[in-house]
Symmetry: C2
Subunit: 409 residues, 2 copies
């Protein structure tokens, strides 16, 4: 049988290096093994996203137990692939393959990505593993999130490729932006441009109940409607069953058009925001837009290795206070989001977060989307968002689309 | 502050009826309350998808505890809305609001949708609820899945609206299907047509790690590549980080083009498959395509109230055996999917499932997508898929696009 065109994607050396790093964390934390369950985590640590469980012992070789498709997994990863077989025997299989772990007298501590693993499946895993050894599955999601924060040059290349796709797609779609088009219709055009350039159709998000496919185009008053979405702007959406992002609102002259879009190309996401206007922004909004540029410039300056994430958020709050815009920053009133930026990579909501209490220090290799925005109920949302790589020399912008308000006739 | 255009969507009477039905199940099962956590479940039982927890006691009024946006939730649901406040005090808040439950001597049994709730969040909920009462959170996901199986006339109307969107979009996109276009490019066009007609951008799927935005257009050998996706066909995809659905393969003459697409409009999904060919199918594939039409006709006949779901799958297997197509049914070899059809509604993978061991009986109000398909490695996939409502008079087809192989010059 021909299995055409399926090849390993993530370099084998990179996969090995990631596994070794995770093993070092496990050894330090006194964890015996890690069981990866989520598609993105599987891809990160094996290079394959087939359906199964990746078992990484704290010492020794990993095994990817695959339900489907075994033959495809073997082509995608250099990690050892085994058939998962009947789920209820998974514990026994592991005990046979890893006798030096499952033969331990004391109880086994196995970490898993419990921030995303559904409880029902967790219980089933606990049961089958528990049938083979005294064993506790503990939450290892912070280990994963911390490792994934630091991007390799190969990953930066992928993020840059996604940045190029967004830039080209927005440039192409701007040609059809006109008074009278609906947010939905123009977004459909942006999505078409993104898709033909390789966007996989959605941007993966780790947070429970959060959904994003390409972001949002929200204009005028519809942009300023509060929403459940964990971001500074939500949008009116298409009804209670899709209560965020684009609506059927018509784009009008002299109203801000917030274009907060991204894509996922070959696994990696990019996130950028530009504000456009057909005509001229009302003075209040122009002033707020200018403030967003000031804030992002300030953040660019501050993003050096060793800077605490929370300090960047504090600086932004101080900037808003002095510009008399505190009430409008990242949403309005009770619906303000409490951050300035977030990590991006395989998912759109990675670590670190530029937020209060997030005291982690910036390190070379981190990639962050910084998105100062201001919400004015009844008027709209304005702001800017760029993505940056932290380097020894400071922040390097990965976003390719040019900065500045997009003024259209 | 103007919160424009936000209105209740699900009729208030329908929400009340659903809550009363869930309460009846709780009373029968000896459960004290249900805590809904997932966005789709929240929408079903309240009409709102804002971020929070819906608490439904086995007797008495429900409360939707909302983190964000409280003001939007109040406009979307007639259920009582309260601010969630600090999460760690959620247990105490519940104890204050529901003293007749939390004052019980014996331990409280609170059900939740544990098939989707992440383990980490489950542990936090267990902790805050446990601080207020002796309390166990049990898995109530089957109650939800069973209630949601039976659609109301209002829901059928929404599914029909989605069926109309898919039918119109495919009709429009067929005008640009030509030799030499890539799967990706043609899919981008279908998605554009779906989107401008109100598709929310993704189809929700309950299964862990499963992703679907609009389905797949897969052609020739690229269609027959096995994948992790829990369906009869996977597709080559766009690389290891998106290993299913469309690829950059070029659509050629005399090869099958499997168009398995759907959309989500106002919350409800539809799922349909047609096979197209530019020219003529090879004889083996034409024969298999004809068999898929025979199988779906047989299923249509058998879909009457009282028929066991598993019998429909058995009948399809028998049909395949007599047509000598068993090895090709719903995938090939080790990668065969083991079902004939699945429920649809707010999610694409609802109950019931037409599969072995699924002995539930069909009932009026169920909506099923039936999708007999045949996979030929190196050649492609052919088949058909329609969605049906079970009525007292038998199966009523909801799919609007006309049946039959799409023959293009």
């Amino acid at each position: 049988m021909a299995v055409m065109d399926i090849v390993a994607d993530v370099p084998e050396a990179l996969v090995s290096e990631r596994i070794i790093r995770l093993q070092a964390v496990m050894q330090k934390e006194g964890v015996d093994a890690f069981l990866l369950t989520q598609n993105v985590d599987l891809y990160y640590f094996s290079g394959s996203m087939q359906n199964g469980y990746l078992f990484i012992p704290s010492t020794g070789d990993a095994t990817f137990y695959v339900r489907r498709s075994v033959q495809r997994a073997k082509l995608e990863t250099a990690v050892k692939v085994a058939e998962l077989g009947a789920f209820r025997f998974f514990g026994e299989t592991l005990a046979q393959h890893y006798p030096y772990l499952f033969g331990k007298e004391s109880g086994l501590r196995i970490a898993a990505d419990l921030d995303v693993l559904p409880t029902q499946l967790y219980a089933k895993l606990q049961e089958t593993l528990g049938s083979a050894a005294s064993c506790t599955i503990i939450d290892g999601s912070t280990y994963i999130r911390k490792l994934r924060m630091i991007k390799s040059p190969w990953e930066i290349g992928r993020i840059e490729a996604a940045a190029k796709v967004v830039s080209e797609s927005l440039t192409a779609a701007l040609h059809v932006l006109r008074e009278g088009i609906s947010e939905l219709e123009w977004m459909a055009r942006i999505e078409y441009e993104l898709r033909i350039r390789g966007h996989i159709g959605l941007m993966r998000m780790r947070g429970f109940n959060q959904e994003i496919t390409t972001g949002m185009v929200i204009s005028g008053p519809a942009a300023a409607v509060p929403s459940y979405f964990d971001g500074p702007a939500g949008g009116l959406g298409l009804g209670a069953a899709s209560p965020q992002s684009v609506s059927r609102s018509i784009i009008k002259r002299n109203e801000p058009i917030l274009i907060d879009i991204g894509c996922c190309v070959d696994g990696y996401v990019i996130d950028q925001t530009r504000t456009a206007v057909l005509g001229k922004l009302p003075e209040t909004l122009q002033r707020a837009y200018d403030a967003s540029e000031t804030l992002i410039a300030k953040a660019e300056e501050m993003m050096v290795p060793g800077a605490p994430c929370s300090k960047l958020y504090e600086a932004a709050l101080a900037g808003c206070a002095s510009a008399n815009l505190s009430d409008h920053f990242m949403g309005f009133g009770a619906d303000q989001a409490k951050f300035l930026g977030h990590g991006i990579g395989l998912e759109i909501d990675e670590w670190p977060v530029l937020a209060k209490g997030f005291d982690m220090l910036l390190e070379p290799g981190m990639v962050l989307a910084v998105e100062p925005k201001f919400t004015f109920p009844g008027l709209g949302v304005v702001g800017i968002e760029n993505s940056y790589l932290i380097t020894d020399q400071g922040a390097r912008k990965l976003t390719q689309f040019k900065d500045g308000l997009i003024l259209l006739p």
